[in-house]
Symmetry: C2
Subunit: 275 residues, 2 copies
């Protein structure tokens, strides 16, 4: 999917919501556990109930890998289901990968080709040659960690390097890499005041924003400081939507949560943008 | 496996060699491609031919994921084969994982429980709560990136923070985390002179050292600056061993390469250590 197509979907749906699929068998409705592939069935139900309110889905790869081969099969079925039934959805493999060049090339192959995701999250620590193999794929997007939403973000990401924080160096350096137009960045919502500074470095890039809801971030604050002329934000919500209820009404409750977020977003979106 | 058991194996085998399993179907002998699971068959042959010369095997997870479900099955068969036939081998999932706490816990479950690896490589960028879920597993080892062997290592890892490089902050900070006795670190062989400084910070920890051979590092230099009283080094070699030949003699050639490395190591190992 191109960035233009993503922006177009945001206009059509009046939403920049991304639904995170972090499926834990201990947390889903128990009646699903009797089915052959409860993870896929849960995802399918959530997707069917929210696809008109969200522009992106973000399967969290750890939650599939934890179930071994079965989990990997559920992941494959989930991404195929989205691609076949809702081709306008932007898909994110939340995988936080990154390794030396020939290894990153294999991860890129796994997620962009074998699974056919539109994008993948990657970690920056190993530098340029660990990220560029992902950037080489046309119309695929590489979402690099910049400033994350967890407390550990303050261990290294905000260390001062030459008078400014490490995450700013990461952003400035990444902009110089080959095919950097294919980069997006992860910026946690729990640090809304940082968005002003980040937008000075990457004014046009899309930012994937976790941390709204369960982790305490505010949608209006993030939009106030982080939104650009093309919106430039994908706001992720995982647990607040997918675990809105553990009963047989989980689909209805998930939709209600997603609808509430979409309506908040519609209220924020600039009238001129939507024309 | 405990650290003591690993040290004991180094004494018995007079070796601190780790063989990296980065299996690319384009590079393995063509006669294997006719078999049902060429990746597993290749790994099995390499392991059978070198298990008395190596103390560790390191499947590179990207190279399995790139082949989708089939690759994941090959990974499962490979780790099971090692655990069942060579239980004294230390196994490393080279996965470079790391995410917010509940997600890292799922990765830990995937690699320590479902696949039953002894250790996993992780990335430090997200800080303490992204690594501690791995450290909570008893007799499992978490091998964190410190200073890597690729050129991108100089993008961020060596940035100056308060007068010293970022990777030193990473080492010093990680030492303060809960269960940090379960940490090992990745330090690239291409930067042998850095080992002196690193040993001042982590004198007792095991270091996993890629970059000998194909990437240009020198075994004797690394040992000179990086070895401690318990050896404290696992030297990885991937391509130089597993792709020593593409012909039907690949097993013989792989063993010859591994033997040469083991003999170099035996020559370096202190006589008093081996008693």
């Amino acid at each position: 999917m191109t960035t233009e197509q993503l922006i177009s979907q945001i206009k059509i749906k009046k939403s920049f919501l991304c639904v995170g699929l972090d499926v834990d068998l201990d947390k889903i409705p128990t009646h699903l556990l009797e089915l052959e592939d409860p993870i896929f069935e849960f995802n399918k139900a959530i997707i069917d109930a929210t696809h008109d309110l969200a522009v992106a889905y973000k399967p969290n790869i750890a939650f599939f890998e934890a179930y071994g081969i079965k989990g990997w099969l559920s992941l494959k079925k989930t991404i195929n289901y989205i691609n076949e039934n809702y081709p306008d959805i932007f898909t994110i493999a939340d995988a936080k990968r990154g390794d030396i060049g020939n290894t990153s090339a294999m991860y890129a192959k796994a997620f962009f080709e074998d699974l056919n995701f539109d994008s993948i999250t990657v970690a920056p620590y190993m530098g340029k040659d660990s990220v560029e193999p992902f950037l080489a794929f046309e119309n695929k997007h590489t979402i690099m960690l910049a400033l994350t939403s967890n407390v550990g973000a303050f261990d290294f990401q905000t260390l001062q390097v030459d008078g400014k924080e490490l995450y700013k160096h990461v952003l400035e350096t990444a902009k110089t890499w080959k095919n950097s137009q294919n980069l997006m960045y992860v910026v946690g919502a729990t640090k809304a005041e940082y968005f002003t500074e980040i937008r000075k470095i990457v004014p046009d890039s899309f930012l994937l924003v976790p941390g709204i809801g369960a982790q305490g971030g505010s949608l209006s604050e993030v939009c106030k400081y982080g939104m650009n002329a093309n919106v430039g934000l994908l706001i992720n919500s995982s647990r607040a939507i997918i675990y809105a209820s553990k009963g047989t009404d989980f689909v209805v409750k998930a939709r209600a949560e997603a609808l509430q977020m979409q309506q908040e977003m519609e209220g924020i979106l600039n009238v001129s943008f939507l024309k």
